[in-house]
């Protein structure tokens, strides 16, 4: 650990290789409309985040340790000012197996607009509303590589609660979510030992995976309660059994994608689907530009009662990559909710400046007029966001 104190970003000593990398970022959000809820009286919000990564490797690469702390400071929302250990994990590599232990992040799935089958890590929902930011999850993961695929076995001791924006934050529900009062179906509470097993394989143009997850469901049921005379939402975490399946067929310029989910818990059993395609036009009109066209559909058996945003939703997207030295990219996505007749529009543009800087401009716009629609809470939260990242 002394090595970390050395000023070099890479050190080789006594067979231990050390490397430090990471990024710091600044973010400015400008909300185009006045806030919907009390406490949200802000039109602009500034936030800074740091995520360094420390890496050690020894035994000629057979063992490695990664430590990735994360810290965000937010101008207005005390809940968004938060820290996490994204990763603190040891990997030991054998000939056809790997043992991974510690806090880690695991991604499963193939679709772009919703990550339906991605279940191992809890969503760090204060980071962003797209659900792509995750909290580190405690785990022991044995991964076996065989001719018939990769088999992953997981023991997941301990549970991470979902983060929610505080009273002062925008992009939140109408009622405050009292995370301190979270309840659990299991008597073991947040110490329930969850398990998961996943098989994945690639055959010809197909990449597929199937898993079974048993344990504390990552999506809380938000229960309306009166706390100190105030109506509030209290997260309740159920025990669930979940089977997930993902498939991608990569055929010429087409990526066909399908995710299926079955969940059984004490109050209900349901299934959900997310599927679609991505088609890429390469080198459009004799330039180096690539244009990807995406379409997906998300369906949840519970329909209007589903606590998710994609229960009967169509998604369209376009991704333009200029393939220039600055990696300029523009991404646009539209979601249309067929049940609630609401829409969302997201536009993201990014490019690199010099060797170590990256800037992005995002615009997010919401159109919802049905109070039963989860997106209704965001209808006044249209915003533009400028993000500047410095990598080291």
């Amino acid at each position: 650990m002394m090595l970390a104190a050395l000023p070099l970003s890479q050190v080789q000593a006594e067979g231990i290789y050390f490397e430090m990398a990471g990024k710091v970022s600044g973010e400015l959000r400008y909300f185009t409309e006045e806030a919907q809820f009390a406490g949200q009286d802000q039109e602009t919000n500034i936030s800074f985040a740091a995520e360094p990564e420390f890496f050690w490797e020894w035994n000629e690469g057979s063992d490695s340790l990664t430590f990735t702390p994360f810290l965000r400071v937010d101008q207005h929302d005390d809940e968004r000012t938060h820290g996490d250990i994204r990763e603190l994990s040891w990997i030991h590599v054998g000939e056809d197996w790997e043992l991974r232990a510690g806090l880690r992040k695991v991604f499963w799935g193939v679709t772009e607009f919703q990550h339906l089958v991605d279940v191992i890590n809890q969503t760090d929902a204060v980071e962003d509303f797209d659900g792509e930011d995750k909290l580190g999850q405690q785990m022991v993961n044995l991964s076996l590589v065989r001719d018939w695929g990769i088999l992953d076995l997981f023991l997941l001791p301990g549970f991470r609660e979902r983060t929610f924006a505080g009273d002062d934050g925008r992009l939140r529900f109408g009622l405050p979510v009292l995370t301190d009062r979270a309840t659990y179906e299991s008597a073991a509470g947040e110490n329930h030992l969850d398990t998961a097993i996943r098989w994945s394989h690639s055959v010809d143009v197909y990449d597929m995976g199937v898993y079974w997850f048993h344990g504390t469901g990552r999506d809380p049921v938000l229960q309306l309660q009166n706390v100190n005379g105030q109506p509030s939402l209290v997260p309740h975490y159920q025990q669930v059994d979940q089977i997930g399946f993902d498939l991608q067929a990569t055929i010429d310029s087409w990526l066909w994608k399908l995710e299926l989910l079955w969940q059984d818990n004490n109050t209900e059993s349901y299934s959900a689907v997310q599927g679609g395609f991505e088609y890429t036009l390469y080198g459009i009109s004799d330039t180096a530009w690539d244009l990807g066209l995406l379409m997906e559909y998300g369906w949840d058996e519970r329909r209007e009662d589903a606590p998710v945003s994609a229960q009967n939703d169509l998604f369209f997207g376009a991704r333009l990559a200029l393939n220039d030295a600055e990696s300029t990219e523009v991404l646009a996505g539209i979601s249309h909710d067929l049940d609630f007749d609401s829409q969302g529009l997201i536009v993201e543009a990014s490019r690199r400046y010099g060797d170590n800087w990256k800037a992005s401009i995002d615009g997010r716009f919401f159109y919802a007029d049905d109070p039963a629609d989860p997106a209704y809470s965001f209808r006044k939260d249209d915003h533009l966001q400028l993000t500047v990242e410095r990598f080291f």
């Binding site: 990398a21 990024k23 890496f55 490695s64 990997i91 590599v93 000939e95 056809d96 790997e98 992040k105 695991v106 991604f107 193939v110 792509e132 991964s143 590589v145 990769i150 994945s200 690639s202 143009v205 990449d207 991608q248 990569t250 010429d252 310029s253 087409w254 990526l255 890429t280 390469y282 080198g283 180096a288 690539d290 393939n323 220039d324 030295a325 600055e326 990696s327 690199r352 010099g354 060797d355 170590n356 990256k358 990242e389 990598f391 080291f392």
Partner: protein, 265 residues
């Protein structure tokens, strides 16, 4: 036309069995193929290879930007090579890794690992002609050479950096290639490539690639330390600087899968 030549040759062969095969009239196409086959055969048996690669991208104004990449490849008998590529620079893509199972005929299998999301994504390999990381190298310029990917025509002998070179024209078989043809200079002693001229889809001169600093490894395999690609149409150039070539380091199939992709760094 080819079958006509073939039947003519067999007729000739039947008539004069005692004549050595080399003395038979060889068409320019056959000679081009034979030269390329010999170049491939001379580079067989390296088993596995690791190397570091630095790319220096220069725009018309001479502004530079840097890419740093590490590469591992595995020779696969009767198929294309397997390779694992890790990006160190630019910093925003550090840890991004690329796994490729190439095939002489048909689409390659390719996966990309995105470290921020910890996501492995199967990607379409249809994009042959697109720029690699914004450089003047296209993806197809960096994949392993396989005989089946081109048809051939010998043009002439010509003096070159490596002594006397065969000049051979290669026509990509893949309809998605960005080129109508490549003209390749291969020296007659060691069958090393010294220069490649690329012609775009309209058959206009597009790029020139030159090789410098050849070293021989394991007393057999020649590798250049520097490859310079100059684009004649946009004035940009990319230098590919290779270092730390290592051969037969004991890599195997088990070093090229989605698990190794995720922890490649």
């Amino acid at each position: 036309m080819k079958s006509l030549t073939k039947s003519f040759n067999s007729l000739l062969l039947a008539a004069t069995v005692v004549m050595p095969v080399m003395a038979l009239a060889e068409t320019a196409e056959e000679k081009g193929l034979a030269i390329s086959k010999e170049a491939k055969v001379r580079d067989l048996g390296w088993a596995d290879m690791q190397a570091d690669m630095r790319m220096v991208l220069r725009n018309k104004q001479g502004q530079e930007s840097l890419r740093e990449i590490r590469m591992k490849s595995l020779e696969v008998a009767d198929d294309g090579d397997k390779s694992l590529t890790v990006f160190d620079k630019p910093r925003d893509v550090k840890g991004t890794a690329f796994l490729s199972f190439s095939h002489p005929v048909g689409a390659d299998d390719q996966w990309l690992y995105l470290p921020a999301l910890k996501r492995v994504k199967r990607i379409a390999s249809r994009n042959k002609s697109g720029p690699f990381m914004g450089s003047e190298f296209a993806y197809e310029d960096l994949t392993s050479f396989e005989i089946e990917k081109y048809s051939y025509k010998y043009l002439r002998d010509e003096a070159c950096e490596g002594g006397t070179c065969f000049v051979v024209e290669q026509y990509p078989v893949d309809k998605h290639s960005g080129y109508t043809r490549r003209v390749v200079w291969i020296d007659q002693n060691e069958y090393r490539i010294w220069k490649v001229d690329f012609f775009d889809r309209k058959n206009s001169p597009l790029k020139t690639l030159t090789f410098e600093g050849y070293n021989q490894y394991l007393s057999k395999y020649w590798r250049a330390d520097l490859q310079k690609m100059v684009n004649h149409q946009n004035g940009k150039s990319t230098d590919l600087v290779w270092s730390d070539y290592r051969f037969q380091t004991g890599l195997s199939d088990s070093d090229f899968n989605k698990n190794t992709l995720k922890r490649a760094r």
